[in-house]
Symmetry: C2
Subunit: 327 residues, 2 copies
Amino acid sequence: MASLADISRRAGVSIATASRVLGGSSHPVSDATRSRVVAAAEELGYRPSELARALVRRTSRIIGVIVGDVVDPYFAEIARGVDDVAAPQGHLTMVCNTDRRPAAELAHLDVLRDYHAAGVVFAGSGYEHAGEDAALRHVVEQLQAAGAAVVALAPRDLDCPSVLVDNRAAARDATEHLLALGHRRIAFVEGPPGLHTSAQRLEGFEAAMAGADPLRVPGGFEFEAGAEAAARLLEDELPDAVLAVNDEVAIGLLTHLRRAGVDVPGRVSVAGIDDTRPARLVDLTSVSLPLHELGVAAARVILEGAAADTVLPHRLVARGTTASPSR
Amino acid sequence: MASLADISRRAGVSIATASRVLGGSSHPVSDATRSRVVAAAEELGYRPSELARALVRRTSRIIGVIVGDVVDPYFAEIARGVDDVAAPQGHLTMVCNTDRRPAAELAHLDVLRDYHAAGVVFAGSGYEHAGEDAALRHVVEQLQAAGAAVVALAPRDLDCPSVLVDNRAAARDATEHLLALGHRRIAFVEGPPGLHTSAQRLEGFEAAMAGADPLRVPGGFEFEAGAEAAARLLEDELPDAVLAVNDEVAIGLLTHLRRAGVDVPGRVSVAGIDDTRPARLVDLTSVSLPLHELGVAAARVILEGAAADTVLPHRLVARGTTASPSR
DNA sequence: TTGTACGCGTTATCAA
DNA sequence: TTGATAACGCGTACAA
């Protein structure tokens, strides 16, 4: 690979001038030499070393996206949004899988710092009173001290800008949809305990159910949790409707109920939150969250210094799994 | 951030010795000084700069995964597999989204080269007679010349090791499943034209249908293509069964058929290939491909020099969308 | 307008 | 066993 030294030699100029024209410096260079340098670079197929550049500039063009699981469409959509604005600007998106383990998160953050990442996006929510919090805050501070922009796309106990959705309102809207259809006995399948997002969605549900008869079932964020919740629900008396903390769980629930011969939405209505692609596949009523936009916004905050601390809008999408009680 | 120089000063040794103990060199260092260096590093929270290290070693610990779309579970599973072995070894996984455009692929490869990536994984298939081929081969050669390991997980006209699945056999197995159920008029919804994978799956279908009555419908790799294929099928006489080039298309087909009031599998059987998570969600018969393992294998080839040019096994998974013709 | 020379943080070669 | 010192490839203050 041709280096600046090669170019300068070939163009008969100093390494500094070569750097100035090729690095897009504002330092004046005569048109004559400029074109000579450009020609030489062209001929040798010059490409600046991002490594060397990052070393001296003290910041690379790497953006890390911390996700719980790339395979989860919630995170994939966000990652896609980040990459859609980062890639055209020559930045590289590092999708860091934490497998939903705080320790893995920490490890990834370390590596990101070692590469002098330009920015870090926390795609998922943090835990309330997490033990790793001190260590986490420490790395984040180091990252920021090194000039990296850190953005959170879900509630986290971190001192950084954020772009959020209103989880409480999302859950409330979904619950009100169910109420408006005429349901009264509504169950909520909860998310993983301790997660901010879980708590907020539960709050939204309970707020909307004030006065009514709120039922709570433990759950999680994954398909299996939905299936288990369905089993539990089937043991007791079935409610009129169920709102799950997210689509994944709602689909697990839906699948299990239907396999057990329960008519959805005839006997029970089912709704989720997130509106990821699978929701559309099974015609699930859900609350559409601007996931791709969340990623786009995060990238803009990092690369263009866009304003942060905003809340993006969501909207309910009524589909075939919710209906008025049949009588 | 503390550098080697800081450590060496604090421990009262030269930069060289500090590097030797902290960099895990085999060069002998007395236990006394070694512990002094370790202590100093501990106190200052030393972390080697991956950037500087990569610059001198001429290779970074970055692995690029070229995918058509991270949101597509096919690619997400592969990326996850790569990361699952790369992360524990301190390597960073760069998921590069090409949006299925060869030009974007090229751009990403350029950047990967500029960062001296340790390896590149091509997750998706290449096009037959693609115009970008010359440029592509060129970058790949440069990458390899720079010491990067390149691995393809689908047929590509590239001079590099590969870990594959047998697409022909996968399509054949699915077709034979349909035949074994008693279907004769079977349609195949094709993939994007020109893609190797599309061609191979079609071949497998036609091979199995030798003698029978093969029907072909143009398609693609996405949900919408399945819906359109369903519309087209509904115009003419419906076949007994349909095999789609992948799950995504099969699900589009399934959804559209059912919305049109067609009984699946009562009237028509539907099957896909890939067995991504959505297939399980809608109880779709499919051919399970070892996607995660593909990613794992690629990472092992890159990081551990594992043997390549292997073919991983697949297996048919019969579910609720296929059944014998009812009469 | 151009060039010299130093620094970024490592690794590696060669002496001592 | 330890230490100078030269790369690696680039940006940039300073000098010319």
